[in-house]
Symmetry: D3
Subunit: 284 residues, 6 copies
């Protein structure tokens, strides 16, 4: 008899043998109108037995890849600065061991920790952001670290012309003005992703997905729902069109499972994670 | 120190200085399979701090307009006739002060009060109705005033050829038959809105939106959900195509916040209200 | 093959043969902070197949009594005055046919219709009220007919010393002051019910139960929850202690099924209805 | 006075006079990540008074057809084999009386019972399956009868080239491989339905719809939600394009009403049932 | 780095070293008005990190005992007979290895499997049942195996005078009549538990708890809620008063997690499981 | 016409004229199994129009007191240290202006900020804590500031014998051991509150209430529900028994409104706040 195991669907490799390392970053700041993203990593893993490991979209099985599920980081609640240090440090080790980090948030601010680790190792790094909110505020309630500021923080790290945003449909006037000089932003959709190819083809890429880029109809479980988002299908198309590019790491953030007791939002998130793991996991 | 204020996002003008007057009409008859529209004005205002005041769709900020939030009318529950009188009277004063009334219902029957005020002042008035249900019944459970009869009541006021309905996908056989001779009705969608231009270009227009025109996938918080509705995007496109027309007043009705505890339906309604306020508020 | 039937558990008598007549009064005014009591009669009947017809409390089966389920009255939404007329008229006929009316509301204002029919026939009538709210306001938003005013309206009919209130734990200072001279009111509990016996033993009694007399822990499905209520058990004890008195009619009101999707509030209401039907149905 | 009746909207024919017989099959195995499909027949019938009997899509009224609502079968819980026998037997009688059986599940395994009855009488039978999951597993937890195996079981009955699947977007690698040699499967959508015409035009057709073929955005009330499904509109288009074909019976399965307390999923199911009844009921 | 583990709080012993073996029996028949008990074992384990391992009631820590968490049995959905065989077989092995089986259901019928294993090894066995429903029906919808029949089935195994039922507050007249001659039944409460001591002190005891014995106010997440149940505290007192008796095995059944999205029902169940594990686990 | 105002029921005094100052502290760390306490101040204020201002328990009206509602502090999300500084600073000003601060959390860690302000001004301060969890851990995930540590932090400030805890029914073995030498702790209930009188009669008192001290049956809207809590009535009795003592400030924390969409948890919290404001507001 064996005790029950708990790992994301098909992610059964040992660390040493793995090419990608999945981990949870159960952290949120509590600065959004609704809360609950910190429990997303648990929720995504907990019920994953209902998810097939095979993708009829990509015609591949997650079990064909070498992915290690490292469980969740033990992050200090109420202290974003230290939480990001822990994430950066973990991702740094994964990078240095030659593997790809895959993070399940948490509030999107956790992406800043992962990008710091990536940027330190990839001077050329481009960052692709999918999300409903611009995230370009200089600060939020006088605080530098928040979902509302995360892309601005990342810009301070990677600089002009290296950030590509898709599906953004909310932000202040100042954010959209500032964006014009510093980042490439497509409002509402991700139709322009092909036209970015030239700019990113020769770069290492980090992808951060705030799940609220998806229409609340398909993902009501988000703390600050913005009507008029992308469909799962169009997001899936956009993301999988990046297959073959040099994706060095990615995350999905912003699921608040309790806001959707039907479980549909969590089920979608699991499925997207499976698809991205298949699309971007390194092969030998 | 100042006590907390409560007004819809960016609607901070004083009455005297305002061009548009926002108010709530928290009234419902209880004649629908599910209830709760009477609390919509509270719900829409309560959590509005999560809404940006800037619209990336219209590239304008609600704070650029002079809008006064008058709070909610004190309407007599269980007495539709008197409630409509109060609404008519309030709207009448707003009209007479040279301002545009903007109403948040409540069940859509409240629109009849506002239209009575408008029609009394604009002999030419056209009425545009967005909603899932035809609203053309002669009476509902022997009662003349109900969501199921509101457009019929409005027709009695404005007459043939002056009502334009969009997105209607439910009604009795008798309603659709009657409609052919008296109103212009587009089932399911609002693709024909451009073709109405000629008919309405020279008229003052009142717009009444029952939020159930939107697909329940995006707005489950409606008392009588009808599958197959419009998307937020298509409704937004249709409405904002009317920018520049002579819109003299409008309302959004039919949100039942409690039916969607995720908050997504209420968030959509707030966003639509912001967009319509920006699109139609008078400027000087 | 027979088509599906729909009657409350065990209420299978024909009208002519019946001693009690159960009916629904699906009406609400929309003047409470939350809504949905109008659908209670449907909800209580719909899932009643999960309820045993036998009561281990009273050691009797509902099928031992002659109860006819008349379905629901067709009440005009948004017009409390006419709705009460319809209820009064229906109850009047039931009384005149020598049967006991049993009503399932709806908002508690519907009790006023039933009491009007009872008082017209029983000059001596005493009214027992179980509810969280005093219901003694003179008017509510300038409206005479509302849950907040229903006991005051009943007092205007039956006069001083004829109303006995239990479990009341909310009301304005004016209501409690006024009550001292006109009604007998026990706040919070129903411990004094035995001491009322003398006053009511020789009178016909009408019992109206607003289900919010029960603690929200046991009945969260109420539009205006008041902490600190009675338990199902203590309410059951109080009510069944009245067995043998001359109960001429009763109602249960105030369930808002949608506010408790677990179904527990509706299940409790069904069970209470069964118990009261067994306790008070006339026998020959 | 008449007691309340309970039949699906407009299905008021007597059995002897009917052309189609609607019945519920309240059965589920409990082998899915979430449960509750067994109560769907009750939920669909219970609140159907909010549904118009007229279809503006098909410009017909359900009352124009002769449909008998037989209520729900009394199926043995926890014993799939016997439950299927009961369904097969009931459908057999309906077929033998020259009527069309219309079943509301329950978990989709119930379709196997109906198909057994149909296949025994129509040697040529083609089966059209709409559903998110392939249902082609050989067994599920060593059990032959389950939602995960139902189409495989049906194939054992009707053989190669007789099953047409649409909207399938989940399954194991082995299922999709196996499918290539035995069934016709369109993943994700139902665009190919016209191209099936030739293959099915001369055959009697049974249609089984697992409602999870619809996007969880429109139907969150499904036990195993799969993102990326069809819209109500596209499913409706696909199904009604089959009008005029020789449809001998159909079912809709897989609704779990409690997972969507807003009621939108149940409302959609009711509406789809109305449309299919109008589209496929025999006329004389 | 270690992969994530998943075991109930503090149950970290290896099988060989364990005195008690915890396992899940995720099975339900679907024969109750609401469903979802099959997922209880997952839900109870999934979020158990919020539960302290220490009991301030019993002043002991679950980690002080040698408990192995065996995960969940793989039970055939839709086939109660085979599911019970699997449970009996598993429990038999645990007994034969000199350990105590502890089962988390599932619908209470699963208790029959465990009791069969216990009765085969303990000729003297007494069974204590806590539950809202008598469970004494001879059959349910012509099916022998169901929550409604489980205690009757157990009686057929152990005979008269060996079953002690507490908290029962629902059942048919026939069940309560039959009970008088065959079992000892305390309706509503468990006050008589001390007076049972003499009868059970010299017997091996199996305890089966249907969580619906608890008042729906504390545990709304039950498929068939019965008002007027016991409190957690009184159930806890009754159960822990059995400490020191020869308890050979026990189960908790009947939680439907999805019916209570607040998580309170599941949290209570976890806590009760901790308390029972501490109270009854063998020590050396 | 006046714009809508938003203040807690009856708290209409101006700051200068006030004796008590109510404010919200919308902060949480995200370190609990469920989240959402940060929005409690909004939720408590938003729907407060359904609450009577009169208390039939204390026979007084909240309007009889001079209470200013200062709205909510603007606290930095994700930075507990700075958030507590802001709370301390605000409370300090209120104290220095001779008024009583009344705080609505937020996660209970916010109490530490208020107590710091109180302790700096009242060397003798006693702290009364009502809550389900001991809160005596030295740190939580290596973080000093958390709900799990808040009473330990307060102890570091006020020292041995100055903290009185009631209703505690969860904690680690180490917490309960440590408590014996440093604080006075009553597990499960607050029966000993009278016996504390001697110890606190001559001291200034700060009261902090984590609403999870209440049984989840009455308050399911708490992030970490612990079965077996106090009733609203017993908590109310305990708290109001302190009337007349020198209460210098108090808070209520730990409500997570979204976990209880029925609104009952929020309604209870509002009512408790009213009672405490009446019981403890200074009078002249």
């Amino acid at each position: 008899m064996n005790p029950p195991k708990k790992a994301f669907a098909g992610c059964l490799a040992a660390y040493g043998d793995s090419d990608a390392v999945l981990f949870g970053a159960p952290f949120e700041t509590g600065g959004l109108p609704q809360a609950g993203t910190a429990v997303a990593p648990f929720a995504i893993r907990d019920g994953c037995w209902g998810l097939e490991t095979y993708s009829p979209y990509l015609r591949a099985d997650i079990g064909d890849y070498k992915i290690f599920d490292a469980g969740d980081l033990d992050l200090p609640p109420g202290d974003a600065a230290r939480a990001l240090d822990a994430i950066e440090s973990f991702c740094g080790k994964v990078f240095d061991d030659g593997k790809m980090p895959v993070m399940v948030g948490g509030e999107q601010i956790v992406a800043f920790g992962a990008v710091r680790a990536a940027a330190a190792r990839c001077p050329n790094l481009a960052v692709l952001h999918f999300g409903a909110h611009a995230g370009l505020k200089r600060e939020w309630r006088k605080e530098p670290l928040a979902a509302q500021t995360v892309i601005r923080r990342i810009w301070e790290l990677v600089g002009d012309g290296r950030i590509f945003q898709f599906g953004v449909r909310s932000g202040g006037q100042d954010e959209f003005s500032w964006a014009m000089d510093h980042v490439r932003i497509e409002a509402f959709d991700a139709n322009s992703i092909d036209s970015c190819a030239e700019a990113i083809i020769s770069r290492p890429i980090y992808i951060t997905v705030d799940l609220d880029v998806i229409n609340p109809s398909e993902l009501p479980g988000a703390p600050l729902q913005e009507a008029g988002g992308m469909s799962f299908r169009s997001l899936h198309d956009a993301l999988t069109s990046l297959r073959g590019f040099d994706v060095v790491g990615f995350d999905i953030c912003g699921l608040a499972p309790n806001l959707d007791p039907s479980g549909a939002s969590t089920a979608l998130s699991r499925k997207l994670l499976r698809e991205m793991l298949i699309a971007f996991s390194p092969t030998r």
